[in-house]
């Protein structure tokens, strides 16, 4: 119980834990979908506080981690061009491509910039009409409205020197891929709070009913996570399978309509490749035909770049919850946040980095 007193809501956390202990009778395996939840769980030791036979496995919920290697190589090829200002969210800079990362490309003279908002790219494009401004548009549904607005405004304002390199992934198809896997052990899900703030949770009701699996939309504070676990376990023990919303303060069933509308105008659903997992049908967004003029892959002719992933890294299995970071022989030895071999070690939301940062160097007894 070493961490519990560090919780700001220690009393509430204690009550939730007690209730979990009362409700739980059988062993259960739950997955938290969102990388922000993984970070919080590992940092605050939420999984260590839980009864031993409730296992939390870490999901695919980090868009940085699942951006395919070949797309990172394409980004590097585009960024290296002299006529390009390449913009990205900060977390993509250190993700290794097959040769190096964006920071290295920058140190070789490329104009690579970190932006806070995708709209910053419009300002840059107006200021540098002689340059091509390219944005690395990655993310889950949470980020799609921001990226969609960039493209929408560029078209409306007639700004031609902006384009986007899109790697947008969707959460529901990833959950289905996990549930369809013959190795799946996950019996209940903590759903992604901020993704659902945008999308609502109707899609999740359909998945929950079809696979008979409880899904509880959950926030990312330690007490949110404990409450999410409690609600999921209660359903499992009662033999129920439905969607519940723990994160009511930010999520409604319908989600953010204005955001959904603009996303649907700019993007359409299509197949996406996930790093470590491979192609999943209907698992991401691509630009609609009307906006294809803003597609950096077309503008810069990088379609031929195709890269294989290194074989030591098991991040694909880590992402699907099949194995844990310390099952990887490279974990903490050849692979560290300073020298990441796979993307789950790069982002602080990646399971490998979270384990490394918070001292999970050894295999715990849980879930042996």
């Amino acid at each position: 119980m070493k961490y519990l007193d560090e919780y700001r809501d220690a009393d509430l956390a204690r009550r939730l834990l007690k209730e979990i202990q009362q409700v739980q009778r059988r062993p259960w395996v739950l997955m938290e979908v969102c990388g922000g939840q993984t970070h919080s769980i590992v940092k605050y030791g939420v999984d260590d506080l839980l009864p031993r036979d409730i296992e939390l496995v870490h999901g695919p919920g980090c868009p940085v981690c699942v951006t395919p290697l070949e797309l990172i190589d394409k980004a590097h090829a585009i960024a290296a061009r002299r006529d390009v200002i390449f913009c990205s969210f900060g977390d993509m800079l250190r993700v290794p491509g097959s040769e190096c990362d964006l920071l290295t490309v920058k140190s070789r003279g490329a104009d690579v910039r970190v932006v806070y908002s995708p709209l910053d790219c419009l300002k840059l494009a107006r200021k540098h009409p002689e340059k091509q401004v390219v944005f690395f548009a990655i993310g889950f549904e949470t980020t799609a409205p921001a990226n969609a607005m960039l493209v929408w405004r560029a078209k409306q304002e007639g700004i031609r020197n902006v384009s986007v390199l899109v790697s947008h992934v969707l959460v529901p198809p990833a959950i289905e891929a996990i549930l369809d896997s013959p190795w799946n052990r996950v019996q209940g899900f903590l759903g992604p709070g901020h993704v659902c703030a945008i999308m609502g949770y109707r899609e999740y009701e359909e998945i929950s009913a079809r696979y008979k699996v409880p899904i509880v939309i959950t926030g990312f504070e330690p007490v949110d996570l404990l409450e999410g676990v409690l609600m999921t376990i209660r359903q499992l023990e009662e033999g129920q399978a439905r969607v519940e919303n723990q994160y009511v303060r930010a999520v409604t069933r319908e989600g953010n309509q204005a955001a959904q509308e603009l996303v649907a105008k700019v993007f359409e659903v299509g197949e996406r490749k996930w790093r470590g997992v491979g192609p999943i049908p209907n698992s991401g967004y691509r630009l609609r035909e009307e906006f294809s003029g803003f597609d950096a892959e077309r503008r810069f002719d990088v379609a031929a770049i195709d890269t294989q992933e290194p074989s030591v890294c098991i991040s694909g299995e880590v992402l699907r919850g099949v194995r844990k970071p310390h099952d990887c022989p490279a974990f903490g030895n050849d692979c560290t946040p300073e020298h990441p071999l796979g993307a789950t070690m790069v982002s602080s939301e990646g399971a490998c980095a979270a384990y490394y940062l918070y001292g999970r160097r050894q295999k715990t007894t849980v879930g042996g």
Partner: protein
């Protein structure tokens, strides 16, 4: 990546037809796009992700979450903002020494 940072809308603005605003996070004030929260007024609290307000929250929730993010060291993205957009501005966020 899907981090949402709560802050208070201190000013509403119209930037060429785009609903924008200034949002205060602790001591830092940043621009945010408010197109997706049409109901929000000055003084309201919102969750901001990648420079866009994605939903409204009440004040108490906002304060709690902000503290938590601070503890988790997850507020770095607020510091790596607009500086980079200035022409010739040096790129403070991207130039962290590697390792």
């Amino acid at each position: 990546m899907c981090l949402g940072i709560p802050g208070q809308v201190v000013l509403l603005e119209n930037a060429g037809g785009l609903r924008m605003g200034k949002v205060r996070f602790g001591g830092i004030v940043r621009d945010a796009c408010l197109e997706y929260v049409p109901e929000v007024a000055e003084g309201d609290y919102v969750i901001v992700h990648a420079g866009f307000a994605i939903s409204r929250v009440d004040e108490q929730e906002a304060a709690r979450t902000y503290q938590l993010l601070e503890e988790m060291g997850q507020l770095a993205e607020l510091d790596q903002a607009d500086v980079d957009v200035e022409p010739g501005g040096n790129d403070s966020a991207g130039s962290k020494p590697d390792g």
